[in-house]
Structures are given as structure tokens and as C-alpha cells.
Symmetry: C2
Subunit: 136 residues, 2 copies
């Protein structure tokens, strides 16, 4: 059984077919998805899933810190699993996105958490520039 499903059940949420479809979509996605993509993929699993259910499920998953939004050039955030953390290199000209895993934010995160008494759950690291094709 999916780990997302387990988390929701443990937190007292009912497991319904539409909700389960959305969970499956997000859990099986390596990268990031826009809510509209999530809706389409969820409907392929369980026909008729409503838009509102996607957003409601995303709210729960955000609250449980299982997914987090990422902001690329598109309109509105996309979502990705917190577990599969990765970062982006974004071309400001054509919008191309390169993903990378290497990240040395861990030390800084611990330092900041201590200094400012925050509980830090996630971070966002994005680089902006021009890709090879757009460099003219």
C-alpha cells in the first residue's frame, strides 16, 4: 500500500476512490506535476475525479509535508514529493528546465534552524540564466 495512503489513514482521513487516485498519481511521479496534469492522470485511474478533489488532496499532502509546491515559469505552482527533492536550472528565455540533485543546503539549513529557532521542512533552490541555445 502506498505510503501516502498510509499517512492519510493514520491522520484520520477517509480513503476514497478519487482521493486514492490522486495519491497514486503524486506518489508515482518522479518529477513535478501541475494540478491540471494531476487531474488528468487521476481521471485515467478513476473517471470523474473533480478539480476540487485534486486541490483538497494537495492541501492535505502539503499539511502532512508529503508534497511541496515548486515555482517554475508557468502560471501557478507545480507539486512534487518532498522525498524526491530536486532542484532546477531554469532558462529565463525559453523556459527550459534542467533538474539536478546535488545540493549542499543541508548544513546551512541546520545552522539557520538553530539560529532562528525555526523547524525547517523543505527548501527551494533554483538557478536562473540562459541555456546554450538561447545564449545567441
Amino acid at each position: 500500500m502506498g505510503v501516502f495512503k498510509t499517512h492519510l489513514r493514520r491522520s484520520g482521513y477517509k480513503i476514497t476512490a478519487p482521493r486514492e487516485a490522486v495519491l497514486a498519481v503524486l506518489e508515482n511521479e518522479k518529477g513535478h506535476l501541475h494540478p491540471s496534469d494531476i487531474l488528468l492522470k487521476a481521471r485515467a485511474i478513476h473517471a470523474g475525479v473533480g478539480r476540487a478533489t485534486v486541490y483538497r488532496t494537495l492541501d492535505i499532502l502539503k499539511m502532512l509535508n508529503l508534497v511541496r509546491p515548486i515555482y517554475i515559469n508557468e502560471a501557478g505552482p507545480s507539486y512534487m514529493r518532498v522525498a524526491g527533492g530536486h532542484h532546477h536550472l531554469v532558462c529565463s528565455n525559453c523556459g527550459k528546465v534542467v533538474e539536478f540533485d546535488a545540493c549542499n543546503a543541508g548544513d546551512l539549513q541546520r545552522k539557520l534552524a538553530r539560529k532562528h529557532r525555526f523547524v525547517i521542512q523543505s527548501h527551494l533552490l533554483e538557478f536562473y540564466g540562459q541555456c546554450e541555445d538561447c545564449r545567441n
Copy 2:
């Protein structure tokens, strides 16, 4: 004269009253503002500023790297001055923002630029969590 105004003039943009109002709002703001706030405050300086002018001016300022978006819990990005500390520790609950300067992204940036053949101009590093007050 405001530094934003100077930058725009130097870059060949005309200085109009509505634009000047938006510049003043952003330049005098220590924290971050949502476009709708910017519109209201700009209208207090110069009545009748249009929404489009706010977005157009934000685009210019982003391009000149004078303001940048910040993503908190709200719908859509807010904007803040690039000058000064350029990274954030954001409380997902109350929206409090702590700025910090320490940043070790430089090495990573050089590595990524070489590997993916990007010219990297800027980056965004933000940590999300709960502040002391909201940790309950």
C-alpha cells in the same frame, strides 16, 4: 532620486507618473508585497494607476534584477527588493520572513553552469518551515 528610477532611466525606460508611483512603493517597502497591495499603494500616490502597469513595471524590475518574487502561502508570488539579504526563511504558517545572507550556492552554481552549459545570472534559495511562535 530613487535608485530604481535611476536604473530604469539608465536602461532607457521613460519615467512616467504611474510608473514612478509603483517604483516608490517597491523601493520603500522593507518586506514583500503582493501585486494587489502594490496596486493599492501606488494608487494612493498617483490615482488611477492600472493593474497592467503594476505587472509591466514588475517585469522590468525583475529583468533589471532589482526585485524578485518570493513564494509564501498566498496565491501567486509577492515581490521584494533584491538589494540586501537575498535569501529567506519563511514561516509557512504566519508568513514571517527572516532574511539571511550566508549562502554557499556559488560553488554549485559554477559547477552547474559548466555541466549544463548555462550562463547563470541569479538564484533563489528559500527555506520553509515553522517559526518559534507557530511551532505550538
